[in-house]
């Protein structure tokens, strides 16, 4: 099943890349089918996932380089399953979402499908090297998407994106090799490494490996102070690519933190839990404050991503802290971090798709050039309001479920961090309300007099994402059950 989910988009990308005869509409259909098949396979995997079962399920394994201990290995725990399924949803949304491909629909959809396949590879991999391979390949896909279909100064943005995140992945690679060299029998099998905990009690060496990995993942997340690549990449990327970048690629950083340092270097991570948590707090406050100061719509949403990923990192750091007697709180924090990943993917994904729609209609991101759209485009307004409210943590929506759990968990372990962190939510609320006000209320500027509302496809896509947001908010049980099972196994408490 997972193999199908992984290869369906890649197989779809192949004919698109090779055959030059298809029209834009045909290319789009192929992309929708390939992407949809992948989502369907993941949905099946979800239905047959047993929360009471072992940590990793649906495992497939094919040898690749046995003498290095490398193989094609896929499998999921609840956390991976949740994040992967959310990614697949977002990819289908990005493929379906209307976008001006500038006469190169074939290439555009081929790259998108390629990105879909390798992104799932990151979440589904059970092989450390395969994880890294897919981690790096996402850069290649995104590079061409931003560079070719972006706006503003896309080549510079794409280049900056590639260079920064590739620097991160090299640090990650050195960390992975460091970990690999510490193993008794060399293997990249994640299950074996998690079981062995090879660096437990290894002092400086373990710290260095941990730091190398953490730096690599923090760049991808992005955590302050290594976030500087993010705003420009977001602003200049095409709408659907921004949605993927924020919704899926950023998750690779935090997902990696759960999968690698937390699971494999638990003891080392616990020594660094407090500094990481403080850094996360800085990211939360800094991201929110800088976002508040932005006048560019996309830039503002981009900075809120830094803020929201801060919550996730905070949850992971709390989960890693081995402070005695807080098993329940740590499990809660880890569950919260995972739900935050899913929620943020859906919410920010739709926010970026919406800003893509605004760009297609008016070619502008400056919030000062908008206003009064509530009457002109009620459906756009309604969906944006819902997404914004979910993002600022309104109860009953997905963001709240996540943040509540993260903060409850944090409060038990690091009370004062939780208190300060809640400030971030206040600022986020302020900045989203301000954003809604500037876009939709007040006087309608003249150049927007004929601003068309969302079309049916756009409403459909955003509606489905919104539905997911509401469903997680109102009845989070279906998600929590799957995630909690794995969180308990990783953080204790069961």
């Amino acid at each position: 099943m997972l193999t199908v989910a992984l290869f369906a988009p890649l197989l779809g990308a192949l004919p698109l890349a090779l055959n030059s005869r298809w029209s834009a509409a045909q290319a789009r259909w192929i992309a929708v089918v390939a992407s949809g098949a992948s989502l369907l396979a993941l949905a099946l995997a979800w239905l047959t996932f047993d929360p009471a079962g072992p940590l990793f399920q649906h495992v497939d394994e094919v040898q690749w380089v046995p003498s290095l201990g490398m193989a094609y290995r896929v499998g999921v725990d609840g956390i991976a399953l949740a994040v992967a399924t959310m990614s697949a949803v977002l990819f289908v949304a990005a493929v379906v979402y209307p976008f001006d491909t500038r006469g190169e629909a074939r290439q555009y959809y081929a790259w998108l499908l390629f990105l879909h396949g390798v992104s799932l590879g990151v979440f589904l991999a059970l092989d450390l090297l395969m994880f890294y391979v897919c981690f790096d390949l996402t850069l290649v896909g995104m590079y061409f998407l931003i560079g070719r279909w972006g706006h503003g100064d896309p080549q510079l943005a794409a280049f900056k994106f590639f260079l920064y995140t590739f620097a991160g992945s090299l640090a990650l690679l050195l960390g992975i090799i460091g970990l690999y060299l510490a193993l008794e029998t060399p293997t990249f099998d994640m299950r074996a490494i998690i079981e062995q905990q090879p660096l437990a009690g290894r002092g400086t060496y373990a710290s260095l490996v941990f730091l190398a990995m953490m730096v690599g993942l923090a760049v991808k997340t992005p955590l302050v102070p290594v976030h500087t690549w993010l705003p420009q990449a977001h602003v200049d990327a095409p709408g659907p690519a921004s949605a993927i970048l924020a919704g899926v690629l950023l998750k690779m950083g935090t997902y990696g933190m759960i999968r690698l340092p937390l699971a494999m270097l638990g003891e080392t991570f616990s020594r660094f839990a407090l500094p990481v948590a403080v850094l996360a707090l800085v990211a939360i406050l800094y991201g929110a404050l800088v976002a508040l100061g932005q006048t560019n719509l996309k830039r503002r949403i981009a900075y809120t991503s830094i803020n929201h990923m801060g919550y996730t990192v905070l949850g992971i750091a709390v989960a890693a802290s081995l402070i005695g007697g807080h098993d329940e709180a740590r499990r809660l924090a880890l569950t919260g971090a995972t739900v935050e990943m899913v929620a943020h993917g859906l919410i920010t994904g739709s926010l970026f798709l919406i800003s893509g729609s605004l760009w297609q209609r008016s070619g502008d991101y400056a919030m000062a050039r908008y206003g009064g759209l509530a009457r002109r485009a009620p459906q756009l307004t309604a969906l944006t309001v819902l997404a914004a409210f979910a993002s600022l943590g309104m109860p009953g929506l997905a963001g709240f479920v996540a943040e509540f759990q993260v903060f409850t968990g944090t409060f038990a372990v690091y009370p004062w961090l939780a208190v300060l962190g809640v400030l971030g939510i206040v600022i986020t609320a302020a900045l989203f309300l301000d954003l809604l006000w500037r876009l939709f209320f007040g006087r309608l500027p003249e150049h927007l007099a004929h601003f068309p509302d969302l079309n049916r496809i756009e409403i459909g896509v955003l509606g489905v994402l919104a539905l997911g947001v509401v469903a997680i908010g109102v009845a989070p049980h279906f998600l929590l059950e799957v995630v909690e099972a794995s969180a308990s196994l990783l953080a204790g408490g069961r």
Partner: protein
């Protein structure tokens, strides 16, 4: 004398002689046939290497000739790169009035590289280096009406003469220290010899081989040759002699007592990769850029040489990296050849639309040179990092990682020009042969990554251990 052990080398020699004779008698129009003859020769030699693949490492011809898995693998790479370069040549040389001898020179240059890879005796090493150099000089300057080619040939020759002289001095000093040139004897007696003289001798030998490797400080010829030599020659000279020299250097370093020479190699490695990268950053000429990048790649290869004897996987890492580098560089130069040697970066605008296949192969080759997984270059770099970290040379691994980052800049610049801009006009290409060679290079990069296990198996056998 076990003549059968030398079948590949003899095949090359006999083939080259026959080609020289043929070139003397064939009319101008038929000189292209000799490319076929060269290919047949190379195929026979390749077949012979595969047939005599050694089960266990051994010495032959009174111990001057090493038969082990690394040598065989290196021969495969050298002969394979030669075959690819020869396959590109007939289209390129079609306008040349006489070019039969060209193929003979190619075979001699390859023979020199093969000798380097298998040398078990410092005299024989010298012989290989000189043969390879002497045959390469005229190849670089083959278009004698083309001033830049003459300049490149002259530069190559002058640097080569100096470096080869130094190598000769080094070998003579080693002989003076021990009274023999056989590696086995050297390994046994070098430990008791005079440290100062040994250092000077080793320094000279490393310098001499640095020339063949295009490593600092004897690297200056590489960008000129890449830019001005006939493109197939550039492809061959940026690969074949390097493979031979890298393995030869690895063998020599393994002989040295203690840590002697290792730090020097590590230093040369760090400087070479940094220098090559920094110089490549500013190039607006794709062939020069490839030349500088090939200098920096030599620096990476030396990482493995610097940890020989200290990390288990060093030889294996060196060989896998060399295979990866050879494939990627050959593919890149095959693209350049296919595009009739176009060299200015501005001429590559919009190539992804005008010549999608060429653009794809060039991008894949460059991504492999950077080390983007799952291309074969990634495995090469991965093993290098692993070996250096295992030998506690973390600083070298970090320098290499930073360099990889820098190199990303200039490779991506070429990719961006090809993909993100529109073509300015029609793109002229060479012909079927070069297209096939290009395609073979591209497929090789992807296929070898999938067949990594096979490659590791072939290189995993240890280098011939010498009694010490």
């Amino acid at each position: 004398m076990p003549v059968a052990d030398l079948t590949p080398e003899l095949a090359l020699l006999i083939g080259a002689v026959m080609i020289v004779l043929g070139a003397a008698f064939l009319p101008h129009a038929r000189q292209g046939w000799l490319a076929g003859a060269a290919l047949v020769t190379l195929t026979i030699a390749l077949g012979a290497v595969v047939v005599q693949w050694p089960a266990a490492p051994s010495l032959t011809f009174s111990g001057v000739w090493i038969l082990d898995a690394p040598a065989s693998l290196a021969k495969l790479v050298i002969l394979g790169s030669g075959a690819l370069a020869v396959a590109m040549s007939p289209d390129w040389m079609r306008s040349d009035p006489r070019h039969g001898e060209y193929y003979a020179l190619c075979l001699f240059a390859l023979l020199g590289a093969v000798v380097m890879a298998a040398a078990g005796d410092s005299m024989e090493l010298l012989l290989g280096v000189l043969l390879s150099s002497a045959a390469s000089y005229p190849l670089v300057a083959y278009h004698r009406g083309f001033a830049p080619a003459l300049e490149a040939g002259m530069k190559y020759f002058l640097i080569g003469a100096l470096a080869n002289a130094l190598l000769c001095v080094g070998v003579v000093m080693l002989f003076g220290l021990v009274g023999d040139t056989d590696y086995r004897v050297l390994a046994a007696f070098l430990a008791q010899s005079d440290r100062l003289v040994l250092s000077v001798a080793v320094g000279c030998v490393i310098l001499g081989l640095a020339f063949k490797l295009a490593a600092f400080p004897a690297h200056a010829w590489m960008p000129d040759v890449a830019q001005a030599a006939p493109a197939p020659v550039a492809a061959m000279l940026s690969v074949a002699p390097k493979v031979g020299a890298a393995l030869a250097l690895a063998r020599l370093v393994a002989l040295l007592p203690g840590e002697q020479g290792l730090w020097l190699v590590a230093l040369v490695s760090a400087v070479t990769m940094t220098l090559g990268n920094l110089a490549a950053l500013r190039q607006v000429d794709v062939r020069r850029l490839l030349g500088w990048s090939s200098v920096s790649q030599s620096g990476y290869a030396l990482m493995a040489v610097a940890v020989i004897g200290r990390a288990e996987g060093a030889v294996s890492a060196l060989l896998v990296f060399l295979v990866a580098y050879a494939l990627a560089n050959l593919a890149a130069f095959a693209v350049v050849t296919h595009l009739r040697g176009r060299t200015d970066l501005a001429d590559y605008r919009g190539l992804a639309r005008a010549q999608p296949l060429a653009a794809v192969v060039l991008i894949v080759a460059m991504l492999s040179l950077v080390g983007i997984p799952p291309l074969v270059g990634f495995f090469g770099k991965f093993l290098l990092f692993e070996a250096t970290l295992a030998a506690d040379h973390a600083w070298l691994a970090i320098v290499a990682a930073l360099n990889t980052l820098v190199s990303l800049y200039y490779y991506l610049r070429v990719a961006a020009v090809m993909v993100f801009t529109r073509p300015t006009g029609p793109v002229a290409v060479l012909g079927g042969h070069s297209r096939l060679a290009m395609l073979a290079g591209g497929v090789g990069i992807v296929a070898s990554a999938l067949l990594m296990e096979l490659l590791l198996g072939a290189s995993g056998v240890v280098m011939l251990p010498l009694p010490s």
